[in-house]
């Protein structure tokens, strides 16, 4: 089983209002720390509605015996300038024909209760991840709370899962 990182970032760039930065170079992937050229230092950064900024770190993959499944995980940062980033961690599994069969997500925001979805293995998995995170997003996070950017986190989780699915092949 394979995961095509360029397909991931180019798919992400196709969603309405999502704009991958520097997408003409290396499909948007660049080394977060310019002095470190290891694979897991690669990131894609993108904006939503031009105003809210997110960063997806290179997905980590483990293929199960005989290409019978693949576990994919990633961390996504909601970039908040001077304030501490929010973190979204996604785990997903793809079956032997490359279709998503599991996902679970959690979100951490400074000084807020963490959000954790259930283990989701049936139905429209990205949609349920979206809805379960959405159910815990507040209307207002106050001063320096990046409310509008946080409200987009459920959508960011969903488009990341869709783009990951596009990247997986068997």
């Amino acid at each position: 089983m394979n995961f095509n990182y360029n397909t991931f970032s180019s798919t992400l760039d196709t969603y309405d209002d999502v704009d991958v930065k520097h997408s003409s170079t290396n499909n948007g992937w660049f080394y977060k720390d310019s002095k470190d050229d290891s694979d897991f230092n690669l990131v894609v950064e993108y904006s939503y509605d031009d105003d809210h900024n997110y960063r997806t770190w290179r997905q980590e993959l483990t293929t199960m015996e005989g290409n019978s499944g693949m576990l994919v995980s990633t961390k996504i940062d909601h970039i908040r300038g001077e304030n501490q980033d929010d973190h979204l961690i996604l785990m997903a599994c793809y079956n032997a024909v490359g279709v998503i069969c599991y996902a679970q997500a959690f979100v951490q925001m400074k000084n807020e209760d963490p959000i954790q979805t259930d283990v989701i293995t049936t139905g429209d998995i990205p949609d349920q991840i979206h809805d379960q995170i959405q159910a815990h997003i507040k209307d207002d996070y106050g001063i320096n709370g990046s409310t509008d950017g946080r409200k987009k986190i459920p959508h960011i989780a969903k488009v990341n899962l869709y783009s990951m699915a596009a990247a997986v092949s068997v």
């Binding site: 005989g66 961690i89 599994c93 599991y102």
Partner: protein, 177 residues
């Protein structure tokens, strides 16, 4: 039964890793954090089972590392039958006492995983092993993250949970009988 753990195979699953601690562990960096995975120790073999212990660290420069200890049990087909874990967060005094997960006890609906095995021509034996390791990883991730997510808003500490799950599968992929 003659169980083998293939160190070279195991190491190959960690991109850009380096051997460390006098060759007893590997270290790799993911995102902005470093993790150390020790090679298995305390390997106990019987004629139909194998048990091994694996320590993992989330390296926190200038602070005490987070430590996880896994005890993995394999059956006569080298499938993962159970894992027990302890989790200790450096400095903060948080910990998860030893907890056992048995593959047979898990009841997730994994039809989406199972349905593809036949289409893809996966043998029954491989399919069975994959289902077991998948079940254990999902359960471990769910149970551990529920607790650890409350401990801090540090992304590196949180991502340690996926690191442990990947490692459970990679360890299992390195065991043969």
């Amino acid at each position: 039964m003659n169980y083998t753990f293939n160190k070279t195979t195991f190491r190959s699953f960690y991109p850009d890793c380096e051997e460390t601690k006098d060759g007893t562990a590997i270290e790799y960096k993911v995102e902005d954090s470093n993790y150390r995975v020790y090679y298995p120790t305390n390997v106990v073999k019987t004629s139909t089972t194998m048990q091994m212990t694996v320590q993992l660290d989330h390296i926190r420069g200038g602070a005490t590392d987070d430590h996880v200890i896994l005890v993995l049990n394999y059956d006569d087909k080298a499938h993962l039958s159970s894992v027990s874990y302890t989790w200790e967060a450096g400095n903060d005094g948080y910990q998860i006492p030893e907890t056992l997960i048995k593959a047979v006890d898990i009841a997730f609906d994994v039809a989406g995983l199972l349905g593809a095995f036949e289409t893809a021509g996966i043998s029954e034996e491989v399919a069975e092993g994959t289902k077991e390791v998948f079940d254990v990883c999902c359960k471990a991730y769910n149970d551990i993250s529920k607790i650890v997510v409350k401990w801090s808003d540090n992304g590196g500490r949180m991502y340690f949970i996926p690191v442990v799950c990947h490692s459970i599968i990679r360890l299992t992929n390195s065991v043969s009988v």
